[in-house]
Structure formats: C-alpha cells, structure tokens
Subunit: 440 residues, 2 copies
C-alpha cells in the first residue's frame, strides 16, 4: 500500500496519482456495441437469440423461452437454502423500510389571486434491471435495484441476467422474487440492454435501465441513454476509512479487505492521525491476508491501488475525505456524529466502529449502489427518486395571468420572441378587452 | 400541419413519424470536440484564448481579461431598460419562491436498538452555467439555471457566455446579477465546457455544468460527463396543446406559434375532440401568421413538424398525451384539475385557458428547463434537486451490528465474499467474544 502524508509538499499530486484510474481506449468496444444495438433494433428477437447463442452458448429456437417461467422460478427458489432465503427477506424488509422514507409526495400551493403552482410526482411506467452473470452475479444487487423501483410504484420491473451454458443462479432468482420483479429473461450483454431499450416481440421496452455490468453493458447503457434513462456508470468500487488510534486494527484490516476482494481495480484507503495505528493495521494485514479465500485478488488490489494517509488530526482527515469524495466512508472514531456536518462529499457514511461497509452492502437499509470515482461531488446513491419523475403544475387564475402576462410580455419582447409576448398578452387583455378564453 | 385521427388504424405509426427527429451523424463534431477538450486540458488558458480568438474573433493576450470585471458588469447592467430589469426581478422572485419548496431536508431516524439511519443532503460546491451567445442568448435561461443552484446553497456559480466580436448582451448580464451568479467569463463552445470541467489557471473547475448550447456544447457536455455532472441534453423544444371546442382559436394559434418561433425543428401539436375547433385554429393560423415577426420560422416549423390530432373525447386525448410524453402540455379545457391524475408523462402541465406556456417560460415560477423528445417518461424539470446530492447515513449500535452482522454474513458467504462476511462477523463477536472495536 502506498503511504502518503498530508503535510508533504506534494501531497495533492500524490493523492491525484493514487486516485487516478487510467482510462482505457474503448473505441473498439463502442463499435461492437453499436453494431449489436443496431442489429437488435433491426431484427429483434432473432438477433437476441443469435447473440445469446454466441456469447452464452444457450440455444433457443423460440424467443419465448428466454423468459423464465413461473414453474422454473419456483424450482430455482426451492433450491435456495432456508437460511439464505430468510437473510434475503430480512435484508429486503430493511431496504424497503429505509427507501419508503425517500418517496417524495406531490405538492401544490395557491397564491392569493387563485393561481395554483406545484409539482406532480409519478413513478416510471417500467424499469429494466440488468444483473450480471457468473461470479459477479450478486443477489444483493437485485434487492438494491428492484426494491427502490417497487417502492416508487413502478408497475413493471423487468430483469435480464445472462445464464452462460444455461446455468441459473438460484439465489439471484430468489432475490428477484423477494424484491417483486415481474419478468425475468435469460439475456445478457449489449443485446439485453438493446432489447430493454428498444423492445422486441418478446421483451417489451422499458423506460429506464439500471444495474451493474461489464464494459459491454456499460457502453450499451451509455449508447441507449436518451431513448431510455440509465443510472450512473460505475467505476471501480472504493472505500475510505478514517480511524483514530483507538480502533481495533484487525477490524480495519478486514474492512479494507472487504473492498479489495471485489476485484483488482478496487481501492482501499485508510486515513489516520496515528502512525502507530497505521503500523498496527499493516501488521494485521500481513497476518490476516494469507488466510483469506480471495487473498490473491486482495493482495493485487492493495498493491496496485491501496493507500494509507497520515494526517495531523481527524479534522485534517476530513479535509482529505472531501478531496477524495469517496463512495464508501467509514468513520471509526469516537463520536462520529460531530464530524457529519463537515463531510461535504461521500456516497455513504458508515459511522462508528460497529458500522462496517459490509453491513451497508447487504442489510443496513440504504442502497449499496453509490457514486464512485469522486462523483459523490455531484451525484447520489440510487434511490426511490431515480424511479420517480416530476411534472411542474401551473394553473393561472385570470387575475394572475393578467399580472404575470405583463411581466412575460416585457421579457419575451426583450428576447425578440413576439409570439411568446402575444400569447401572454391575449391573457392580459382577456377580461379587459371583452375577449375571453371562451370561443366567441 | 399534419392531420392525424386517433381512430385511424395506423395512428401509432403516424404519431411515431410525427414525433421522430432524424438523428444526425455527429461523429465529425465528436472528434472536433474531443480535440478541443484535450487541448484545453493540456494547454489551459492558452488554448482557451486561441479558440476564443478563432471562433469569437475576440483577442485577449491576458486570460484574466476573459473574466468580466465588476465595473463592466455594472456598466452593462446600467444599459438595461428599467422595465426589463423590473420584469427580471419580478420573475426571479417568483422562480425563487417556487424553487424554495423543492429544497429537500436531511433526515434521520433511530431504531429501537439505537441504530441510526438517514440521508444527509448537501449542495454541490460549484456549478457552471453555459449561456449561448448571439440570438439564442436568453436572459430567462440564466434565471432558470442559476436560481435553483442558489436556492440549493451552491457557494460558487460560474457563468460562461461567448461574446462574438466582444458584444456583450446587457440583459443577460443583468439577469446574471439578479440571479446571484458569482463569476462570468466571455468564453463559449466546447472550450468553455472543457475549462469548466477541467479548470485552467483563470477558470477554476466546477462540479456540474448546466445550460443549453449548440451541438458543440452539447457534445462537449456529454464528453466531460463523469468528470463533472451535467443536466439533460435537450432536443428541439415542443408543445402539446389539448383543447376543447370552447377555447378561443386565436389564443391556441398564438400558443402554437410561441413554440414554433423558437426554431424550425420546434414542434407544435394540437389535440382536440372537436374537428370544428381544429378547423377554426387552422383559420386563425392562416389569418395571424402573416403579421408575426418570425413568420418564416413559424411557417417552416409548423409545416415540417406541426400536427393536429382529432380524438373522440378528452380522455382519449390524454391517452395520446401519455404516448407523446410532451415537454410542455397545455390543458385548455374546463376543469383541467380532473385530468391531472391521468397524466403520467409531461415536463410541465399548463392548466386552463389562462395558462399559456409563455408564462411558464418566464415568470410562473417553475423551471423552463424541461425534458424533451419524450424523455418526460423518465426525467424531470431542472430543479433544486439537481444541485443537491445525498449521502446515506448509517450508524449501528453494537446491538444492531450483532443482529444485522449475522444477516450480512449469510448473504456475503452466499456471494462468496468472505472478507465481507468476516468484517461483519467481527462486529457480531464484538461483545460476546470479549473483543471490541477498541484497540486491545
């Protein structure tokens, strides 16, 4: 792990280097994905079947078979261990309960002249959730994407998941059933995103696509954006842990591991005001790492992207946090509450020594889909608000229109938009001129 | 204007054709913009000065001169007619008052075991507002972009506006002052977007860029997305008017004109259950069009993209509205309130005969930056929420961590993420095992 010291003259440059993710050249992927999307738009189910055969070695002649039947769903759900099902249900209940507090209500207010203004909030009609196949197929992500949509009131939640060689992940299916997903298709990659965005005979189109995926899926989501909504394009996952000298170093080592085990690009950063604590955590890492199941990935991740930052005090540590704008922030300190208002940028804030990120990944309640790579400076966790949209409501009384029509007329004429001005002026003259909105 | 009838067998296809905006090939623009952004990242101010000289014929040797000084601002503001300044202030007050109702508060709640969950809502640190130069330089757009940012609590609001040949729009400057913009630079195009996203010695970077612009600006915004946040990429503006037989056809014609006068790609659609009303509006259009200042643009826009749709009743008209998901929706009918809950998709809903879109464009209060091209199916008007972001708050008590750590452990092991599991298990064992979060 790289060691940085806040008081070093070139700290800012070193931090930039630590945080920097080298951008790959994605132009080849972009062309491949554009071709797949164009093909699915043109040939629909036939193209989807062909790509599914090519990439997932899954040969169906009839596109209807891409949809998992209720009988299949029941079969796979029954294969899930009762303890796992119970844990999914417990997690789902907490996620639901937290997200219900995010549902925003419509509102209106009246002005003295009778004019009404407001905002009507409605759910999206339909949402597509992409779930990766293979090793990165996480049941917890199914809950985190589907439950906010369900709470928002989305009527139709569609899930696509690639099933290479026809192997279906029982726990993913169980999570989908627990979360209330309405339709599940065994399609993946750019062809799944294209089908969700543009629709085929078998898969009706949706209004927004969320969920993680590989570079082909991420690129496809970018390309269909505008036709449908999408969630953020996630970078590598990262954690930033602020810890004081009193924290158990084994716990901290394991929290850093829990991020690093995701993949070699994942980033784990520990910030402290105690060199002794940083040394102790280094020792814990050395002692605990060999016994970890995913030791290889953790070792590579920590070597390539891990970092420890020494600060003079915890307030300085929080300044560094705001420079990083981390996806996950742990505050392993006494009285973490007193730091809260100083934190300007973070996806999720895990407060105190009993709140490891792992709890937030599964069952704390808040979403685990969070802004990565410093985008917490301007974006938010996935939430109910991502599955609702707003419509402005404007209802002028004749009196209000007469008053505001004058204002609009002045500004429209200043902008040279005279039809705008006259449209407003008709309403100003409405009563006085003897003419009204009613047809004569 | 094209005439469609809802009951026609091929109505859906005809509507698609009416709504369809042919996508241009933008690959040449994309390359040009990518080069400009790379150049500004590499050479900073020198590149910005060079492009400003080339595109706007504005030659400064010193980049500091790109920033409009307080003296210049005062000078330009003084050139604005008092009536226009008063109208800007009146509009700003209404916009501010409406948007203050959108500001979301942070929230927290406690669970019986002492665990605290919540969401902390904070403003973005800094925002860049792009304002187009020349004819499309609208003071009203300055208000609509800057005021929500100000209400959100954004500390630094930066505006860039190209000033070809050094000509500065007095009213735009006045609007910026009224709205509370903090810094104004006379830079436009992709170079302005690049400077806002990556920063130069003169222009410090911002966290999000909003505001309309031409194809170069829109493409640049897409390309810097991820480094900074952006607002929607707007398509041509459009209006959909639902009117019953009792509405004054002259008013309707002028409302359609007010959209069509924006540009030739703008779209005006009138939906009614009365053929007589449609005929009367056609007659009004013919009579009123010759006297309009922007008659040429209006004529071309109505011919290319205008449409009238005949329905059997108003409920059917609302179904068509939901198929269109219009940016602006006027409900020129009696008791528009009774239709409100049936409208699933619209950027802004203008209710009743005294609420023309023009009022919403300037001074009704709600934002005039709205989702276009059917994107109201999944997106919302620009608002205070676009300038705030959320951080999840999670603070487990030891008791809560012990309970939920068990759930997390089961799910983490089901996903094969054992460092996650052990990180959670440390907190389960915390008390029972005699080990605590405190360093031994």
């Amino acid at each position: 792990m790289r060691m940085l010291t806040r008081s070093d003259a070139n700290f800012a440059a070193e931090l930039d280097e630590l945080l920097n993710v080298s951008a790959e050249d994605t132009s080849a992927v972009e062309h491949t994905v554009a071709d797949i999307i164009a093909d699915v738009r043109r040939r629909g189910d036939a193209a989807v079947l062909e790509y599914t055969s090519r990439f997932d070695r899954l040969d169906f002649r009839d596109a209807a078979r891409l949809r998992i039947t209720p009988e299949q769903l029941a079969h796979h759900a029954a294969q899930t261990a009762p303890a796992v099902r119970e844990a999914l249900e417990a997690a789902a209940a907490r996620i639901r309960s937290y997200h219900e507090r995010q549902a925003a209500p419509s509102w209106q207010y009246s002005e003295p002249d009778g004019t009404v203004l407001g905002q009507q909030i409605t759910p999206l009609d339909s949402v597509g959730i992409y779930v990766p196949g293979g090793k990165a197929s996480y049941p917890s992500s199914v809950l985190m994407n589907a439950i906010p949509a369900k709470v928002a009131g989305v009527k139709r939640i569609v899930m696509t998941v690639p099933t290479p060689d026809g192997v279906i992940n029982d726990v993913v299916i169980t999570a989908a059933l627990v979360a209330g997903v309405d339709e599940i298709y065994t399609v993946g990659g750019a062809q799944a995103v294209a089908a969700l965005a543009y629709g085929t005979d078998t898969i009706r189109p949706v209004d927004k696509i969320t969920g993680p995926g590989n570079i082909f899926v991420a690129t496809a989501k970018k390309q269909v954006f505008g036709k449908v909504g999408i969630d953020m394009i996630a970078g590598p996952s990262e954690i930033c842990v602020v810890a004081d000298a009193a924290t158990n170093p084994d716990w901290l080592a394991m929290d850093l591991f829990s991020q690093a085990e995701h993949d070699e690009d994942a980033q784990s950063i520990l910030i402290s005001d105690s060199q002794a604590l940083l040394d102790a955590v280094t020792a814990s890492i050395e002692r605990l790492l060999p016994e970890m199941e995913r030791a290889d990935i953790i070792r590579k991740s920590l070597a390539a992207r891990g970092g420890m930052i020494l600060c003079t005090d915890i307030d300085e540590a929080i300044e560094v946090v705001n420079m990083i704008a981390p996806e996950h922030l742990e505050l392993c300190v006494d009285q973490p509450e007193r730091l809260l208002t100083s934190i300007r940028h973070a996806g999720a804030i895990f407060m105190g020594r009993y709140t490891p990120e792992a709890l937030g990944d599964y069952c704390a309640g808040p979403n685990h889909v969070l802004p990565t790579s410093g985008t917490a400076r301007f974006s938010s966790p996935l939430g109910v608000y991502d599955f609702q949209k707003r419509s402005s409501i404007i209802n002028f009384s004749a009196e209000g229109a007469a008053t505001q029509g004058r204002v609009a007329s002045v500004l429209a004429r200043a902008e040279g938009l005279t039809a705008h001005a006259r449209s407003a002026e008709y309403r100003v003259e409405g009563d006085a001129g003897g003419q009204t909105g009613q047809r004569q």
